[in-house]
């Protein structure tokens, strides 16, 4: 395409999108029972706030976010909570489909904090696959000026047609959702990046763009090539900007959102409807009615596939996500989550097991397709040898796990599997080395909590004394002079360190979604305890001072 720049490498796998993009987007039947897992987003699992026997409506909060990087969870059908355990909540439906919506917001007029609060309350997370909580992502403006919002509609993985169908049916609403985020983040431009294999979606977007847009939106159609839907790859291709290694798109003034997420944002803001359903591509040769459906979260995969005409004897495996980056489902009883964008019910002829691996002959094919310009053949060698120093120096953590290298490997080596294993081994090592640090942070947290409790006790005591003093109207002259200024400074410092801890946590969580966040959440909690204590002390000191002055 004329106005597109380029990233290195890339491959052209068979697309196989026709199987699911020929029928219209429809609603899946209302499930009679749903299972909502507590972890359907990056960060920490949500904490249940319902008990078995509670009745819920569609949109009732059933689990609250835990820590900063986490997300609320809502009931996706109305009925009764039947089971709550450590990982999931089950709801038996009453078939009524009664809703509990939040009040609609006119996004053009409300304050940013109200919008952020709405995103938080609606449990919106990125629906493209990573599941990063949207309200945290939106707070990026506190640290970075955002210039451009990119709507990532490239959808480069084979089979998946979620964005395609979402845009064909809801182009106007997706663009309105983009306007909300652009306003919230102060972006001056919006760019839609879409591959040229989705002509109907492009047509729908062009039509929608003929309506006036408050913030200008540009449609950029790019040639189809995997993995142009990778955030960094798309930004390079649309804007010719390189997101720094270990950095975020925000570092170059860009924010990326998936069309499905933008639609969910609009529903949450305009209609007060929390995230209780999503579009899922049902495809593969083992079902007779492939297509895209609006599915309530928690619906069982088996039920969905059976409704789509599952041919069980033909079924070889079900893959959640695309064939390049997705994962095979171990059981069909797994529920749909916020992260389920595609279910491929594949026959054995369609996606056969790989042939036996043979030795790497260092042909370098992998190098020529790597979209990050890494040396996969060398990483392979060092991953097998567990040479961790070399792995880091050959930039293992820059790997986006797109699978292009494994795809072209003539020796059928599962390269990305090796890299994932190496990465998790290295992450574990980092945690080991950080253990002492973590213990220190735990100690600091405890100290902070004790200090806060002490401050609270003190405040209560003072309040009691003040009450006792007032009737008698006698003032005990305070011997020590109140250091109001010092407390104000301490309070400001505590506030700043909360901000800093939040910033670090949000950054770490986005940079490496698989990184363990416990330690960072702990540091944030410590800072918050310190802030509470400082607030109490400050309030108390002010009280004392005003009472001295009034005497």
């Amino acid at each position: 395409m004329s106005n597109a720049y380029d990233f290195p490498g890339g491959i052209y796998p068979p697309e196989r999108k026709q199987r699911s993009n020929r029928s219209a987007l429809t609603e899946a039947p209302l499930p009679s029972r749903v299972i909502l897992t507590l972890q359907q987003h990056s960060g920490q699992a949500a904490t249940p706030c319902v008990a078995p026997g509670d009745t819920v409506k569609v949109g009732s909060v059933i689990a609250k976010r835990e820590g900063m990087i986490s997300s609320d969870l809502h009931a996706s059908i109305s009925g009764m909570v039947s089971e709550v355990n450590a990982t999931q909540i089950s709801i038996e439906g009453d078939g009524q489909d009664e809703w509990l919506r939040l009040p609609p917001l006119a996004w053009q007029y409300v304050e940013p904090h109200a919008l952020l609060e709405r995103l938080n309350d609606s449990g919106i997370v990125g629906l493209g696959g990573a599941g990063f909580p949207t309200h945290i992502k939106a707070r990026v403006v506190e640290r970075h000026a955002i210039n451009t919002l990119v709507i990532n509609a490239a959808e480069c993985e084979p089979y998946i047609t979620v964005d395609d169908l979402t845009l064909r049916h809801h182009a106007n609403e997706v663009l309105e959702g983009a306007q909300i985020i652009a306003k919230l983040c102060g972006a001056q431009h919006i760019i839609i990046g879409i591959e040229d294999n989705k002509p109907e979606a492009i047509e729908a977007l062009k039509h929608a763009l003929s309506n006036s847009q408050p913030i200008s939106i540009e449609l950029k159609v790019i040639a189809t090539r995997y993995p142009s839907g990778g955030e960094r790859q798309l930004i390079k291709r649309l804007l010719n900007l390189n997101v720094p290694s270990g950095g975020l798109p925000a570092d170059v003034g860009v924010l990326c959102h998936n069309p499905g997420t933008l639609l969910a944002i609009l529903h949450a803001v305009r209609d007060g409807q929390p995230l209780v359903s999503r579009v899922v591509t049902l495809t593969g040769e083992a079902i007779s009615q492939p297509g895209n459906r609006w599915v309530r979260l928690g619906t069982s995969v088996r039920e969905l596939l059976e409704q789509a005409g599952l041919n069980t004897p033909e079924l070889h495996q079900v893959i959640q996500g695309g064939p390049m980056m997705g994962t095979p489902l171990l059981t069909l009883d797994a529920p749909v989550t916020k992260l389920t964008n595609c279910l491929i019910a594949a026959t054995i002829e369609e996606l056969p097991p790989p042939p036996a691996e043979s030795p790497c002959i260092r042909c370098g094919e992998c190098e020529s397709v790597c979209p990050v310009a890494l040396l996969p053949q060398q990483l392979h060698w060092y991953a097998r040898a567990q040479d961790d120093a070399k792995l880091e120096r050959y930039h293992l953590f820059d790997c986006i796990e797109c699978g292009a290298c494994s795809y072209v490997c003539p020796s059928h080596i599962p390269l990305v599997v090796d890299y994932r294993e190496a990465k998790s081994r290295l992450r574990l090592q980092r945690i080991e080395t950080a253990k002492a640090e973590h213990a220190k942070h735990r100690f600091e947290f405890r100290q902070a909590r004790l200090a806060r409790e002490e401050a609270e006790k003190q405040a209560r005591k003072e309040a009691r004394q003040a009450q006792q003093r007032r009737p008698s109207n006698t003032i005990a002259a305070s011997s020590e002079k109140v250091d109001l200024r010092g407390l104000r400074i301490a309070h400001a410092a505590a506030k700043a360190s909360v901000k800093k801890a939040e910033k670090t946590l949000a950054r770490v969580a986005q940079e490496d979604p698989k990184q363990s966040l416990d330690d960072f959440e702990m540091q944030l909690a410590t800072a918050q305890e310190n802030l509470k204590a400082a607030e109490l002390q400050l309030a108390q000191a002010r009280e004392q001072q005003s009472s001295e002055e009034s005497s």
Binding site: F7, I11, Y12, P13, P14, P158, R232, N242, V243, P244, S245, G247, I319, P323, M324, M325, G326, T327, P328, A346, E349, E350, L351, P352, P353, P354, P355, A356, S358, P359, C360, I361, R362, C363, G364, E365, E367, S368, V372, A373, L374, L375, Q378, K390, R393, Y394, H395, D398, G403, S406, Y407, V408, C409, P410, S411, H412, P414, L415, V416, V417
Partner: protein, 346 residues
Amino acid sequence: MSMMRASGVKDAMTATSVPPTASLMRWVIAATLPGIATMSYFFGLGVISNVVIAAVFGVALEAAVLWLRKRPIRVTLNDSSALLTGVLLGASLPPASPWWLIGVGMIAAIVVAKQLYGGLGHNPFNPAMVGYALLLVSFPTYMTLWAPPQALIPNGLWAQIAGTLPTAQLDSLSGATPLDAFKHKGEAVLASEFWATNPLPDGTLSAWRWVALAWLAGGVLLLVKRVISWHIPIAMLGSVLLLATLFYLSDPSHFASPLFHLLTGATLFGAFFIATDPVSAATSQRGKLIYGAGIGALIIIIRTVGGYPDAVAFAVLLMNLCVPLLDLYSVPRPTGHPNTSSGERP
């Protein structure tokens, strides 16, 4: 896990992707056929006997070592790499080499250079060239016995292959390769004078040129089929031409012309079939360029200043030695890394 399916997609749609390792090897073998056929046409069936004997030795030795190492034999032989090593070494030897000579070369190639280092993918040196270099150093008489162009079945062919031909008769068969003749023309003889004496038997030079062009044809096939990448052959031929031109321009009366270097000896064969062995070559694209250029430079330096008339084997082996260093210092800068040297030095 997910890569299971990535490969799965690939196998269902092989048209879009690179052939698997075994078929890469078979493509290389197929691409040697024009060269081998042309050589046989000019130098007799001794060329084919070389290739066949070496290939049989290659497969048998590989099977034997795999058996000793308790590794799967059938699956491993199926990758055709031992067969390829045999074909390449066979094609490098003087026509109708005795069977035991080929056997010794293949033991060095398959047993020592390849399997003792761990088999396919683990050998730091090009196996065929290790075999060739060993033979050249150990049996110089046999290795320089390159007959002039001759009939398809020359006299004494079978006895020669069987190793029963008396040494006295061997000498009568021998001729000189053009590189050989030029190398030993003597310091005092000017290039123009040398060629004026008609130093080679009739048709020798043109035979070598035809053979070189046949290797080139095979090489182009490999490039078109994307079996090899262009980096090593282009860098190697480029540096051969550049250095040969520099030498030639500095003193045309003493040094051979660039075209002579390109079209005689093993230059083109080496560029497309030997230097491109991915296992023992540098692996990154930048590394391959340096690696190829290094081989080209060493070829010209050894040919003009060193002691051997042709130098592909030694040039390749010397550059094999440099591969770990090249790999270390030719790491590309991944996208998103600042454009400083720190990002390039692992």
